[in-house]
Amino acid sequence: MNIKRVFTLLGKELLHGPRGFILTMTIATPLLITLVINLALGDLFSSAAKLAYFDESQSQLVPLLEENKQLHVFEYDSTEALKDAVSRGAADFGIIIPADFDNLVTSGDKVPVTTYIWGESLAKNRTIITATLLDLTHQLSSQSEPIILATVTLGDEESIPWSRRLMPLTVMMAVFFGGLMLPAASLIDEKLKGTLQALAVTPASLPDIFIAKGLMAALLSLVMGAIILLINQAWGESPLLLLLMLALGAIMAAEIGLILGALINEMNTLFAVWKFGGLFLFGPAIVYMFPELPQWLNYVFPTFYVTGPIMDISLGTQDNETFLQLGIAVFVILVLVFLISRLINRLAGEVPRQAIKELEATG
């Protein structure tokens, strides 16, 4: 292995490599997926009911609605807009706050309000919204409830908000999507076009080529992982440690990509592997999203030893187990290096095998 040649090849990859591919697969696609995940899955699994309101009177109910934690509230500037939102399911419930709402409430009169209910809203959401509206109206009327409420929390489990549950998935998408596809696709492409063999018979060895491709992928996915954490404001208290974990994740992604690229000879097979390997790769993220699933499943996935520590460090909850997982991640990376070196030897043997084939053919 020659460092200078590695950097020469790295330069070739960056300047003359598949820029379109890099842009779409390593940058645009992970960002798009992250956006979609945060936008869609967050809402999907969030248990908060959605309430739309149109306030005709600048009621004091509005600040109470905006401050409450049990509902997602959205303001609309007309009855038509509100009805449209409710009818297409953007809100479970819509309320028109009438012009003299506050006066009627404080005078103790029963206030007629027009409400719209989305036909597909769940019963519990309707119940929650109704109870919340009544509760806030009581607060507005300064009417106190006839009971004293005492709250007792039982159990040790933590309530994890969905924005946090989705983080491993978004980080993994950013790091592993491009970090894996880039070296895999690049190697397959070079094999198909015969340029890999052409390079391999120059002073640049196959290890140099693999390292250059892996390095480029790892660097790009490291940057993407860092950007995603930045977007999610999840750098936590130990940014350097976090960066180290991201780097380990990026290296692991690149290594898996190199292994796939060495083993697979055509793109269709890569697509097929991606279809299913995705489950194996993102398994830890899925287990994290659903704490009801047996958490021991995590230990099966090699990528867990990267995402677990990333989450812990990001949330500032790292402990001894975090560092143990870090150690295992390093071990996995070393095992992958060993595998890659074996594959390189096998590939290197392809050149003399081809020559033997030619000799046989000519008798």
Binding site: Q354, K357, A361, T362
Partner: protein
């Protein structure tokens, strides 16, 4: 008079500002092998692409088997076999499957792929995937594919490229057999020895123009210089003398040499097509 199979008149083609084929004219008679010789970039492949329908002629026209290639290209292609310069085979299929595919495309009712593969020396490898073939084997398969439909016209672009001498020789024999069968053959090659051996006529292409077109023999006669290389023994040393033939003083020179010197060997020499090409165009055929 044999009817001309290929008639090209005032044919031109340019890629943007580059004039690849510049107003060329030629005819090829039935059962003739015409060799197209020229260095890289001379316009050989472009001419082949135009004649085989891969490109539309921009100026001039061409008829193959009496059919205009711009109007009847489908009918023309049904009578044509093409061997491309670069292999373009289905790598995940076997040799036999590749041939059978093209036989079906040509609607061949009966087709013996095994026999054809045997002809090109791929017997026993019929069911191997092309991805596992060597370069030479792929080239032989390319030639075989061009013979699938027993075409009236064959366009062979560097058919023996990458082949060892034995295989190349067998391909050349195959080409001659095809001519005997009645095919007209348009051959592009860098190998001037091959062109000399196979072709009825050769055309020298340079920068898109035909610099010369005639039989190899006539070209040599016209442009070549015949000579005798005479080896003499003098004071125990061997020396060579060259005597140019076809000059008025040649007989006297030869008589004097034989009478005065101890002649050991006499060899006649002809100009090669390479030499002739250089003479006509000022460029070498091969770099």
């Amino acid at each position: 008079m044999t009817q001309d199979t290929i008639v090209v008149e005032n044919l031109s083609y340019h890629y943007g500002k580059i004039l690849a084929v510049d107003n060329i004219n030629f005819r090829v008679a039935r059962q003739e092998i015409l060799g197209f010789l020229g260095p890289n970039g001379a316009g050989k492949s472009t001419t082949v692409k135009v004649l085989t329908g891969q490109l539309r002629p921009q100026e001039g026209h061409a008829t193959l088997l009496g059919m205009d290639i711009t109007k009847d290209i489908e009918r023309v292609q049904a009578q044509m076999g093409v061997c491309f310069e670069q292999p373009n085979l289905y790598e995940q299929m076997s040799a036999l499957e590749n041939l059978e595919l093209f036989a079906r495309l040509f609607n061949m009712k009966t087709f013996d792929g095994y026999a054809l593969l045997k002809k090109v020396g791929l017997e026993g490898r019929e069911k191997d995937r092309v991805a596992n073939y060597s370069k030479g084997m792929k080239q032989r398969l390319m030639v075989a594919r061009s013979l699938v439909n027993q075409a009236e016209i064959l366009f062979l672009d560097e058919p023996t490229s990458g082949l060892d001498p034995v295989s190349a020789d067998s391909i050349r024999n195959l080409i001659l057999q095809e001519r005997e069968r009645g095919a007209t053959i348009f051959l592009t090659t860098h190998d001037m020895w091959e062109a000399d051996k196979l072709c009825n006529r050769v055309a020298f292409l340079n920068q898109g123009k035909i610099a010369a077109l005639d039989t190899p023999h006539t070209l040599k006669q016209q442009y070549g210089q015949r000579s005798l290389v005479v080896e003499i023994s003098r004071n125990g040393q061997f020396e060579e003398r060259t005597v140019t033939l076809d000059k008025s003083e040649t007989p006297d020179t030869v008589r004097e040499l034989f009478s005065r010197e101890k002649v050991v060997t006499v060899h006649s020499q002809e100009a090669t097509l390479e030499d002739i090409f250089l003479k006509i165009t000022g460029r070498r055929l091969t770099a």
